[in-house]
């Protein structure tokens, strides 16, 4: 389980996160939603240690990640997988080399074992046979799937996903969401997804945190969101006519 306790983050005069406290449970799709500039990605980066919180703590299974030294953090980071908004695949490496990269650095597996693991991960994201392609030869959806394959190559306990649907068509977005949800359930991973895609929210949102002006404004499930009377949340979720109509039918 991941817990964030009273997280604050400021950049100069700009207070981006204000006293956020939340917990993310294993085997659940934990979604962080909110409008642009609400602090979603900053919160995610504070959780994974790419930003240091100005105040507050991040706990991984009770261990305070914020206070840890670089060498101690490495142990936690080996258990973290992350899919970035733009996939962040290494341009100079093939798909296979991208997936094998953490295995080369942090495991004592033989070359055959690493290849088997890479093939398994590629099969899991439906990209069998794409081993030798470079990232520049992949479509946006394929890059996301390779990013997921790389993220799960070390069998992570924690999976972080930043805007998995950005730049993807609706069908591919749903496939990516389903893949994330399947992996979360299959391996009982603590998954944290930052998104503002309403299909994701309604489709896989086991646990949703809504950020507004850098504060946790609402917390609940995808079933609860439809019946919430929170004004800001409703303005965000049901902004489109389609969503408003869908809500009225519920």
């Amino acid at each position: 389980m991941i817990e964030v306790q009273d997280i604050n983050k400021t950049f100069g005069e700009n207070e981006v996160l204000r006293g956020i406290t939340a917990s993310f449970k294993p085997g659940k799709n934990n979604l962080i939603i909110g409008g642009s500039g609400s602090g979603k990605t900053t919160l995610l980066k504070c959780i994974v240690g790419l930003h240091e919180p100005t105040k507050g703590d991040v706990l991984y299974d009770g261990h305070n990640f914020t206070d840890m030294h670089f060498t101690e953090r490495v142990h936690i980071r080996k258990e973290i997988g992350m899919l970035f908004q733009n996939s962040a695949l290494f341009d100079s490496m093939t798909v296979e080399q991208n997936i094998m990269f953490p295995l080369n650095l942090f495991t004592e597996m033989s070359k055959e074992e690493k290849l088997d693991r890479a093939n398994f991960c590629l099969k899991r994201v439906n990209l069998e046979g794409k081993n030798k392609l470079f990232p520049s030869e992949l479509s946006g959806g394929m890059k996301k799937r390779v990013g997921i394959a790389r993220a799960i190559s070390m069998q992570p306990k924690y999976l972080f996903v930043d805007e998995p649907n950005s730049g993807l068509d609706p069908l591919t977005s749903i496939l990516i969401d389903e893949l994330i949800a399947e992996l979360t359930e299959e391996y009982s991973i603590t998954t944290v997804v930052v998104t503002h895609d309403m299909n994701s929210v309604m489709g896989i949102g086991d646990h949703i945190i809504f950020l507004y002006n850098g504060q946790k404004w609402w917390e609940g499930t995808n079933h609860e969101i439809a019946h919430s009377d929170n004004k800001e949340l409703n303005e965000f979720v049901f902004a489109s006519k389609f969503m408003k109509a869908a809500r009225e039918k519920l």
């Binding site: 790419l50 980071r77 080996k78 290494f90 990269f101 080369n104 650095l105």
Partner: protein
């Protein structure tokens, strides 16, 4: 900076990266260094000969002056300035692009010591390959001088070769070697730093590369002055 030289997670992976950088920096720069060195050596010889047209000065002096100026200044300094453009801009833009496309963040999330994995192989390759390129430059520069002598009648090749060996002081080789190592470090570390701390997008990556090259050139000239003053 010290994080760049922490113990690697796995030596084999880092070693492969060092080798890749050595090939990229060394072999990749050989062509431009060869062309520049031959021309500089030839021009230095012709201009020195032009300035020393006197019956009181032996012709072999041209060889000696070309040798000293090539080893002490032309090869290390001009090669380094060229390499700052060739290698430095490549390093800064490569690392800068990795930064803005979140590839460095991805490495950090995996638990990789990113300065160590990204920066140290480039610095190691720089301090080992720039001296080799400078040695190549010296040899080709002196060869260029020989070709200039052979092509013109101002100085005979025999006089030129005699001048190359007359009054040879080994300190100039030491100075050249120290400069080459220092310049290799300056180019790679400054440009890597500029790339590593890039933020924004394509525009900022270009600006980081430009800053890296400009700062490297200034620091090369400054280090050139200091090393010459201290060692000569």
């Amino acid at each position: 900076m010290w994080l760049s030289f922490r113990k690697p997670e796995k030596f084999k992976v880092y070693w492969a990266e060092v080798m890749r950088e050595m090939v990229s920096q060394g072999i990749g720069s050989l062509g431009i260094i060869a062309i520049i060195s031959v021309f500089i050596g030839a021009v230095a010889t012709i201009q020195t000969a032009f300035q020393l047209v006197s019956d009181l000065v032996p012709r072999s002096v041209v060889g000696g002056i070309t040798r000293d100026s090539t080893i002490l200044e032309f090869s290390p300094t001009i090669s380094a300035l060229v390499l700052a453009g060739r290698i430095g801009s490549s390093i800064a833009s490569q690392i800068g692009t990795m930064r803005v496309t979140e590839q460095i963040d991805a490495l950090e999330i995996m638990g990789v010591n990113t300065p160590g994995y990204i920066v140290s192989p480039k610095i190691i390759a720089g301090v080992s390959m720039v001296p080799l390129l400078v040695i190549t430059s010296v040899l080709l520069g002196l060869g260029g001088g020989y070709l200039a002598c052979a092509a013109s009648n101002t100085v005979s090749t025999a006089d030129y070769l005699s001048g190359l060996t007359d009054g040879f002081n080994t300190i100039i080789v030491t100075v050249c070697a120290v400069k080459a190592v220092a310049f290799g470090f300056i180019i790679t570390s400054i440009c890597a730093y500029q790339g590593f701390y890039t933020s924004g997008g394509a525009l900022e990556v270009g600006q980081a590369a430009t800053r890296g090259v400009v700062y490297s050139c200034i620091m090369i000239l400054f280090a050139d002055l200091i090393i010459s003053k201290v060692l000569l």
